[in-house]
Amino acid sequence: MKKFLIPILSLIICTTVIWKWTFGFNDFTIFSYTLTKAGKIPREFPKINLVDQNGKVFNIENKQKYILINFVYLNCPNVCHKVNNKLEEIYHLIDTNIVPSQLEFVTVSFDVKNDNIERIEKYRSYFGNNIDGWTFALPYQVNEKDFQQFLKSIGIWAYKMPESNVINHSIYLFLISPENKIIKTFDPARETNAFIIEQIEQCLKEK
């Protein structure tokens, strides 16, 4: 029996370390790890001032609506635009009685160095002129360090690759309730439009 004990103990210790490190074999990437580490939902959406494409300052809490929020940067070579295209599809597929009266879309750029109001306004126009209820925004009067902290606290991982302008980041969508709580997270790379819409509509019904 003693002979088995040492290998079994080694197996248990190794498995426990990996178990802990991946939150129970669930989070293998830094993106999902950061999301889980931010806490269970529903949880408070941290306060932050944003400025929209028209230069108007607002914050999520004051909207008193359901908000579907995502984070991008305009110099992104690829994935951010794909996510926004998906969001555009969702926007057009979702019931028109819901947007913008009950639900709003907010796309926030976290590239505070390169993106500005003019750029986000122009970028928004690519998605059409009649997209009421879809706001493009930038953080307002927040330093980079605080903004990074804000991103982490909601579960977004962003990493600027050295010697390039590429920022690799989480692409999760967050559904925030009128009570300013994150009630759902979606992974647009893995979940279908139909699934996301169904989940949103279900949340609105449960209201």
Binding site: F25, N26, F28, A189, R190
Partner: protein, 495 residues
């Protein structure tokens, strides 16, 4: 020749008996699952699809698993009591490791309803499933545990044999091909053990890679592997394992049949050439299961046919010839053991022929995905491997007189054979009537003839399974009596 003391033999026998009893418990359970499937296809019961496919998965994985495990355990017993010292503690360790794997698999399939079939064709275990994700994880991990145990066992046996017989070349019988007179003679079973098990090492490594990929996919559902590559991996692993199960079983026929015919069955050049040829053919024979995959390179499809034909001829031909030479005009008592071996050979030949038919591209286009496929592998498994195993079990459970009369056992045997061939015939007829395989029931088929034939044949097959089970019960009773007798005689000799 190595001398193995009687205490060691007794201990090894205890291990073999434990394997045997475990096999005898699991085997009828798995047959019952098969019966339930045929009853559903015959529209006699109303089993739901989720139950049906979890039964099918457990029946397939379980049968392939226990038949290979027992074939391996029997070779372990024969080699360890005659030719080589094998580590008994290690043998017990393997037993418990395999038991853990089996329990995991039972849990995953029966409780978790894991049901993509034994072949787990990608992306079946992940797309549109009716079972929870944990069932996939548990089943895949259990299979990995089984794979590790099998690999360890195979490596242990091959290494011990290589040490005993002076290296790999001797184990492969290459010394017989030269002109030297003083060569290391090897028993046939040793040659066949080596040739059967070495391809198993490579199949298990590729199988492990495939299972790890399944595990990764179960953690990351958005992964998308190439289904053709996955199918090649699954078939290379699964088909090779099933193939070597048969060869392992043939191995002990080479060792035990001469005890009844009283004729030597030695290794010679023809045996070496034929089995060495099989060594390579085993690895590529699986390709005939991919004819339907039009994206598979055409060259591989042709290779599949050539190799399937080639693999059937040398080992089967030479072995059949050997068996006939053994029994022809031999002054032997046709007790149940040689009878089972002889019928097992016939089953191998018939199933093998059906396999060759299916591996012919022109015929495969009509027969594949029909019941012809289960027909062929059930033939060489049920009427080949299973008969070899029961032959071995009767040998193991018998006392000193292995040729004694056994009316009960023989009656069971004939009923079992009758039931089995009846059951198999229904599969063949189903195949010839284009009844599709892997259907839980045929009610959705649009062609009336196929739908009705499929259901009728399934009803008849269920009936024959009943007959087969009666035979099995009689054989079990006979085995039980033999075991009791053996215990009594052991006690008497001890006192």
């Amino acid at each position: 020749m190595i001398q193995i003391d009687s205490t060691e033999i007794k201990k090894q026998k205890k291990l073999a008996l434990t394997w045997a009893i475990t096999f005898l418990i699991l085997f009828p359970v798995l047959i019952t699952l098969g019966l339930l499937m045929r009853l559903r296809q015959g529209e006699i019961t109303e089993t739901g699809p989720s139950e049906f496919f979890s039964y099918m998965t457990l029946h397939g994985l379980g049968m392939a698993g226990i038949l290979f495990t027992f074939a391996f355990a029997a070779l372990w017993y024969l080699n360890s009591t005659r030719y080589v010292r094998l580590n008994l503690k290690f043998g017990w360790f393997l037993y418990f490791l395999i038991l853990i794997g089996v329990v995991g698999l039972l849990y995953g399939t029966l409780i978790g309803k894991f049901g993509p079939g034994w072949y787990m064709l990608y992306p079946l275990p992940f797309k549109g499933t009716f079972w929870p994700a944990w069932a996939t994880k548990v089943s895949v991990i259990s299979l990995i545990i089984l794979g590790v145990a099998w690999l360890l066992g195979i490596l242990h046996m091959i290494y011990a044999l290589a040490k005993q017989y002076g290296g790999l070349t001797n184990l492969l019988g290459w010394q017989y091909l030269g002109k030297k007179e003083n060569i290391t003679e090897i028993p046939s079973v040793v040659l066949i053990t080596t040739i059967s098990l070495i391809p198993g090492v490579f199949a298990l490594i590729i199988g492990a890679a495939m299972l790890i990929m399944y595990l990764l996919q179960s953690f990351e559902p958005s992964l998308a592997f190439d289904p053709l590559m996955m199918k090649n991996m699954v078939m290379f692993f699964g088909h090779t394992l099933v193939n070597i199960t048969m060869y392992c079983a043939v191995g002990w026929v080479y060792a035990l049949l001469p005890e009844f015919t009283h004729r030597e069955w030695k290794v010679n050049k023809a045996v070496v050439y034929s089995w060495n040829a099989s060594f390579f053919f085993i690895l590529f024979a699986y390709l005939h299961h991919l004819y339907m995959d039009f994206v598979q390179p055409t060259s591989l499809q042709y290779l599949g046919q050539v190799v399937s034909y080639s693999s059937a001829i040398p080992a089967t031909g030479i072995t059949m010839f050997g068996v006939i030479a053994q029994v022809y005009h031999a002054k032997m008592k046709w007790s149940i053991i040689p009878l089972m071996f002889l019928f097992g050979m016939a089953g191998w030949a018939i199933g093998g022929f059906a396999a060759v038919v299916d591996s012919t591209i022109a015929l495969n286009s009509s027969l594949h995905n029909t019941l012809w496929v289960p027909a062929h592998f059930h033939t060489y498994m049920l009427m080949g491997v299973v008969l070899f195993i029961f032959g071995f079990l009767f040998y193991l459970f018998s006392g000193k007189d292995k040729e004694e009369k056994d009316g009960l056992g023989k009656a069971g045997f004939w009923i079992f054979v009758l039931g089995s061939y009846g059951f198999l015939l229904m599969f063949y007829l189903g195949g010839l009537n284009s009844v599709p395989r892997r259907y839980s029931n045929y009610s959705g088929l649009e062609i009336d003839h196929v739908r009705e034939t499929g259901a009728h044949l399934a009803q008849c097959a269920a009936l024959f399974v009943g007959v087969l089970l009666v035979g099995l019960i009689l054989m079990y009773l006979s085995l039980f009596c033999k075991l009791i007798q053996q215990k009594v005689s052991t006690k008497e000799s001890n006192s």
